[in-house]
């Protein structure tokens, strides 16, 4: 898969991934698999790319009045050091990113972990959901985290929306829901 990916993006100046875990894979594991840091050096997570490379903070004001809880996926947070970029982008678009005590705790997805030790995985999702502040939307930059938290929230019939960071930033730009 690494070889395939490298081939697909061989001619791109930048590879931008709307996913913390995928970016971490390209940046930390691919150099070893491909025996070259070349692809890693031009790969970025979405928020990281917008803020650190494009130097853009304000995308639009389309999130005015929105109360959002941001879930920091572990890969983006700890492996890439991407912490303030997504929050800044959301806030500069008018959203209030509400303080959430457990926002940096792992959601319990962990890839195959979610189906190999499902009871613990669900308990971890419950920890996150039980400590959520009063918001209507939870945003995260990682698809796996969203699957996990949304899957559990819907099973528990919790009236919360889960949106990817990319979709949310898209809304910010468009200025409407």
């Amino acid at each position: 898969m690494a070889t395939h990916t490298a081939a697909v993006f061989a001619d791109s100046d930048y590879v931008v991934l709307p996913s913390g875990s995928c970016t971490a894979m390209l940046r930390h594991t691919y150099p070893r698999l491909l025996d070259s840091p070349e692809l890693a050096e031009r790969s970025y997570e979405l928020a990281e790319f917008i803020v650190d490379v494009l130097k853009v903070i304000e995308i639009g004001r389309g999130l005015e009045g929105r109360q959002i809880a941001y879930h920091h996926g572990c890969h983006a947070l700890r492996e890439l050091g991407v912490e303030q970029q997504p929050v800044r982008l959301l806030e500069s678009a008018g959203a209030r990113v509400v303080p959430w005590e457990m926002d940096q705790e792992c959601c319990g997805f962990g890839g195959l972990f979610s189906v190999k030790t499902p009871e613990v995985s669900v308990a971890m999702a419950d920890r996150k959901l039980d400590t959520l502040p009063d918001v209507q939307t939870v945003v995260s930059a990682d698809g796996g985290c969203l699957l996990q938290l949304e899957g559990r929230a819907r099973r528990r019939r919790m009236p919360i929306r889960f949106r990817s960071l990319a979709s949310t930033l898209w809304e910010a730009r468009r200025g409407s829901t």
Partner: protein
């Protein structure tokens, strides 16, 4: 202690589903530990400290032979009996001799995780010796007949209510006794044991090679008492506990205490050089001090180029406290002495991967443990090493490997992947509840809803 790590998933399930109070208790306790640790390091350069500590421990380990010999020489000079033990059985034989030669009837024990590895208590009991755990948490679990649930706080999985019930049944305290009353009952009972025991057993937090000193950190005072009142003191020390210099000790005492409980230093620290009493020319203290240097799988870990760094561990418990996986169950799910992240990377080295292979998978590799490790053990990397080996040795399910290969072939073919995504929307409910992996997912969560269109298709149509 028997190894039950292969049952991790079932043990975790049982704890979460059948005894939900444990999850509550462990969560509350670990959050408190994390907060206190955070405060303790707030004004310090934790990174500089942990880099220094990492280097001291790595230096000690890479020169371990020399330092063990130096420690032994210093200890022997002071009149300490130094024993070397490769296995639990060796330790048992050493104790058997000491017990016989001294007609030992009663032992008071301070907390020692190593003694759990060695199944010391059952052995002593089989020799007709009465054993009393004196650390309050250890005493509680001894009454319950349970193994410890956490490296620093063995009974964090037990609530006040649990202890009330237990002490009411076993010590006759009132059913609604206050914590102070419960503690007083334990103190009164154990005090008598300290004063009449023939032998005290302790572990060792650090063994300073330069001076032959055993350092022990605690808050209760039961270690001070166990190592001071009985006529004989035996310290069980894993060979990896070595610190090279006397000047290393003050910093390690402080950072270990801060990392474990957030204190500047543990309430009592015993820095032991040798016997007291007539043997040491002092008014009291043990006439005989024995140190047992224990291997029990540590040399195997040391020889392993990919995982030896796990031996730097100072047993502060910070990784357990921060681990979101550990927090859901406490230590009993892990099925062996060491639990949480450090358990996952150490147990396979100590007792073999065949017995412990689910442990490295009992993690989402979130990396929180690595952030707090005082000695910078790259825990997630070591988890991956053990995982890779488990797969290579055929310990994991062959199903998984097939599913992953299937995924890889679809994911490298864009059109095929697209069709598969659209087909996914058509998978019937019954299949979701029966197919492997899908059924594990849907037991507690709704399946993802397919959008009906791939991103590419939407893009081609014009996303605006």
């Amino acid at each position: 202690m028997e190894v039950r790590s292969r049952d991790y998933r079932e043990r975790a399930r049982h704890i979460i589903e059948d005894t939900p109070d444990v999850r509550e208790a462990v969560t509350a306790a670990t959050i408190t530990f994390v907060e206190n640790r955070s405060k303790a390091f707030a004004d310090l350069d934790a990174e500089a400290l942990s880099r220094w500590a990492e280097q001291v421990k790595s230096h000690a380990l890479t020169h371990l032979g020399d330092y063990l010999e130096e420690a032994e020489a210093r200890l022997v000079e002071r009149g300490v009996h130094v024993h070397w033990a490769e296995t639990a059985s060796d330790v048992h034989q050493i104790f058997k001799s000491i017990v016989r030669e001294n007609d030992v009837q009663k032992v008071v024990k301070a907390k020692s995780m190593l003694s759990e590895e060695l199944a010391l208590n059952p052995f002593l009991e089989s020799c007709g010796v009465e054993v009393f755990e004196t650390d309050l948490g250890e005493y509680i679990i001894q009454l319950l007949g349970e193994p410890p649930s956490h490296i620093v706080g063995p009974s964090i999985h037990k609530s006040l209510e649990d202890t009330r019930v237990l002490f009411h049944e076993r010590l006759g305290t009132p059913r609604d006794a206050s914590p102070e009353r419960l503690a007083a009952a334990a103190r009164d009972l154990l005090r008598g044991q300290f004063l009449t025991a023939d032998l005290g057993v302790s572990g060792g937090n650090f063994l300073v090679a330069e001076t032959g000193s055993i350092a022990l950190i605690e808050n209760e005072g039961n270690i001070r008492l166990s190592t001071s009142v009985p006529r004989i003191h035996v310290a069980l020390v894993g060979i990896e506990k070595v610190l090279p210099r006397w000047t290393d000790l003050p910093t390690f005492l402080q950072i270990t205490s801060k990392s474990a409980t957030g204190q500047p230093v543990g309430t009592f620290v015993s820095i032991i050089q040798g016997p007291g009493g007539a043997a040491g020319g002092e008014p009291d203290g043990p006439e005989e001090v024995h140190v047992v240097l224990v291997d029990n799988g540590r040399t195997r870990l040391l020889a392993d180029p990919e995982v030896w760094e796990a031996l730097r561990c100072v047993r502060c418990g910070a990784c357990l406290n921060i681990c979101p996986v550990y927090r859901q169950t406490g230590g009993h799910a892990y099925g062996y002495v060491y639990s949480g992240p450090i358990g996952a990377i150490t147990n396979p080295g100590l007792v073999g991967l065949e017995e412990t292979w689910p442990l490295p998978f009992a993690s989402t590799a979130c990396g929180a443990c690595k952030d707090v490790c005082l000695v910078r053990i790259p825990i997630p990397d070591l988890l991956h090493v053990w995982r890779r080996r488990a797969v290579e040795r055929g310990l994991t399910s062959p199903e998984e490997a097939s599913v992953l290969r299937l995924w890889a072939s679809a994911a490298t073919r864009a059109r095929l992947f697209g069709w598969a995504e659209n087909l996914a929307a058509l998978v019937p409910d019954w299949a979701l509840r029966r197919l492997p992996m899908l059924r594990e997912w849907t037991a507690g969560r709704e399946p993802p809803r397919a959008a009906g269109q791939t991103f590419r298709e939407r893009w081609d149509e014009g996303i605006e």
